[in-house]
């Protein structure tokens, strides 16, 4: 696409690239932005097709214009209008496997420029000081090689660049292990919706504080982006660029520097090694032609997503590194984590018959519930060691096929009177979803499948998964909390009724927060990269995506992936300037 078409197996380079980046999502997009701005010559390789939100986003389209009213299908698992291209839980021609006898792990992958930032959930919570030193606090998992204070300035810069909502009236609550941002960074949070006012009152009556949602959506124009106009779901992408996507916010300005080239449909499968034990570049398969092509660079950045970056390393044996590249610790693919998820829905009679109101807002909820149990856990009063936050939903949103469920609350089955019942019950349903921290364990990891290869002949990943009691007990607690809230509000639980955590917990990978597989640390024996995302074994090989996370706090990972990539790419640029790569 944006790079010259090349013939033959070697991509001709008029100038040698300083850095080749594999991936264009949160980690890759931010790395490209920082490095190109710093004057390095950068090549970005993306496995999927080119994608331009300005031209392709179905803004304002209603469900009746879509096949099957837009419901999810195996072709579009999050519904017709979801931005994901050529992907989802499965990708055509690119399988993965689950180890026999283990729990199922699901792996969400798109094949498009910008990756999952095109449809992500946008929730942008900072990890807190406890989150960087979890082992020191409760003896489980491992500590990070950095502290909150070291990352805080990068959170500031990232939030300012990305544009994050969460300021205004309710900001600055100073809640435990829930860092606020310095004044002036966060955009003002829009007014609370009716059901959010109700839910906040309900939680507060339980002694649980509620905070403004922090979401990567802008409330005032910036850098050629329009402010959110409170209509049309963010999961479709955003043609006015109000929500953060690397395809609108980071890749275009990086291209404007003239220092970045992008090649799409480039499926990288191996990091190539020079004779000096340094990486010489990468080799990819052109997905359109099937040709193998090699590119050279002075440094390689992997940002293909946690599991895919691990897959590239494991497939980079080259005969000299039998357990894969950068794997002297044996931990590539290990300590795979996802987020603990459980949800319930309720019907709240006090919301019945309320007048019509516009509940669209900024797509995300305007409130959330940070974890409130740190002190109880410190006193060992809870049967699980780590926290979760609660995401909420409800209101009079654009009807999809689920709207028919309102008839369940009607005493008229059909005919005259049914319309009135539908109006009365519209907007009286709420839902609650817990998002909790999973502790890394020895049972959850990815490795190469000894048999199965994808359509390009590249060995695929085989996942091993098993939830531990820490997570299962947490899911039980989530359901109990949701039920208590719904009951307090005088409602009835309509789904998610059970309180057996084993039944309630989402499958591994299902929350799409998979991280780990190439964790950072202080010790080359137990980690893959150092605190700069630099491989211990191969000095010019870096990992700048979620693979490096040593733990997975409840606070959704993308903001931290972006902040780490900004920090570590800045460090890489500095090293390059000094002639160290």
């Amino acid at each position: 696409m944006r790079v010259r078409e090349e013939k033959g197996s070697i991509v001709k380079q008029s100038t040698p690239y300083d850095v080749v980046i594999v991936g264009s999502g949160a980690g890759g997009g931010m790395s490209a932005y920082v490095l190109a701005k710093k004057g390095l010559k950068v090549l970005m390789l993306e496995a999927g097709r080119d994608y331009k939100p300005e031209d392709e986003t179905p803004m304002f389209n209603t469900n009746d214009e879509a096949p099957l009213r837009g419901v999810s299908t195996p072709d579009k698992p999050f519904g017709y209008y979801d931005a994901t291209v050529d992907g989802g839980w499965t990708v055509p021609g690119e399988p993965y496997t689950n180890a026999p006898g283990k729990e199922e792990f699901l792996w969400w992958r798109p094949r498009m420029l910008g990756g999952r930032t095109n449809h992500w959930g946008r929730i942008s919570l900072r990890f807190g000081e406890y989150d960087f030193k979890p082992y020191s606090r409760d003896g489980l998992g491992v500590d990070w090689p950095i502290t909150y204070d070291e990352l805080a300035p990068w959170y500031d810069k990232t939030e300012a660049l990305v544009g994050v909502t969460g300021g205004g009236e309710y900001h600055g609550a100073g809640l435990e292990n829930t860092p606020d941002s310095p004044d002036g960074i966060l955009h003002e949070t829009p007014n609370r919706r009716l059901h959010e006012i109700m839910m906040a009152r309900g939680f507060e009556s339980m002694g649980i504080p509620v905070a403004p949602m922090r979401a990567a959506i802008i409330q005032k124009p910036m850098n050629g982006r329009q402010a959110c106009f409170y209509a049309t779901s963010c999961g479709r992408g955003c043609s006015i660029k109000a929500m953060f996507q690397t395809t609108t916010v980071l890749i275009p300005p990086a291209l404007e520097t003239g220092n970045l080239d992008v090649i799409t449909d480039a499926m990288v499968y191996t990091v190539d090694m020079g004779k000096d034990d340094k990486a010489s570049g990468v080799t990819y398969i052109d997905r359109k032609t099937g040709e193998h092509k090699t590119v050279k660079a002075r440094a390689v950045v992997l940002a293909a997503s946690a599991a895919e970056s691990a897959r590239v390393l494991l497939n980079s044996g080259n005969g000299r590194y039998t357990d894969g590249l950068a794997n002297s610790s044996g931990t590539v693919g290990k300590y795979l984590m996802d987020t603990v998820g459980a949800a319930s829905g309720g019907h709240i009679p006090m919301l019945e018959g309320m007048p019509s109101r516009n509940d669209d807002g900024m797509s995300n909820a305007h409130i959330y519930v940070p974890w409130w149990g740190y002190q109880k856990q410190a006193r060992n009063e809870l049967p699980f060691p780590r926290g979760y936050h609660i995401e909420v939903g409800g209101g009079q949103r654009m009807p999809g096929m689920g709207i028919a469920g309102l008839a369940d609350h009607s005493d008229v089955a059909f005919g005259a009177g049914l319309r009135e019942q539908m109006r009365r019950n519209y907007g009286a349903d709420i839902y609650l979803a817990g998002r909790g921290e999973m502790i890394p364990n020895d049972d959850c990891y990815a490795e190469l499948d000894p048999e199965v290869k994808d359509r390009f002949g590249i060995p695929v990943l085989r996942f091993h998964w098993k939830w531990a009691d820490h997570e299962i007990n947490q899911a039980t607690h989530m359901r109990q909390t949701f039920h208590e809230l719904i009951d307090r509000l005088g409602g009835t639980v309509s789904w998610g009724k059970g309180t057996d955590g084993r039944e309630a917990i989402a499958k591994g990978g299902e929350i799409i927060h998979e991280v780990g597989c190439a964790r950072m640390g202080d010790d080359p024996q137990t980690s893959v990269v150092n605190k700069w995302g630099q491989s211990w074994d191969v000095k010019n090989l870096y990992v700048f995506d979620g693979a490096v996370l040593p733990s997975n706090p409840d606070k959704n990972p993308t903001l931290t992936i972006l902040s780490l990539a900004m920090r570590n790419a800045t460090h890489l640029a500095e090293e390059a300037r000094k002639g160290n790569i």
Partner: protein, 209 residues
Amino acid sequence: MAVYTSRIDRRTALKWLSAAAATTLAAPKMVRAATYVKTPQGYGTDPDMLNPTSPWDRIMTDRQLQTTAAMTDVILPEEAPYPSPSQIGVPDFINEWVSSPYEQTKDDKKTILAGLDWIDGEAKTRFGHGYADCAESEQTGLMATIAETDNAQHDFFTRFRKLTLGGYYTTPAGFKDIGYIGNVPLERYPGPTDEMKATLDARLQAIGI
């Protein structure tokens, strides 16, 4: 009632009437491998979102489509200014749904096509003519029978009602009826009015919150 006229053009209709596609899905070869299985006649993994089409053939007979139209309008009769489902093409949507090649509509297809034939036959037995040609009271009476939870056709009724309501309220006409006023760009997000907040406050206080 009036004969229902499908809202699609003649060429497309003829295409749908052409040979029905084989929709048998190949079973995934590998146990526990997450492998993408292409759905024949599906819209694929990268459809044109700005010009959506559902490319599969429609399988309802005209008789089934007429029964569908009559049933949708018994479930949600016209209530001026709100149109009936058949006035805004909901029967076409139900045909699209039961004709879909996707796995998750398979049970609906089976139950609904059989149910449509059943109710049409039952109308003939009881009243001497098909469901679509019945008097309103006859249509309503038969619907009331299957709306009973212990009736053998109750599953057909709930599935059919789900598609009728879903198909109806996902349209702009349905939005107007149910009171969805979003999907419009706003400079500021207003949130609920003071009056609504006061009503909510009173209701919360009434339960001690």
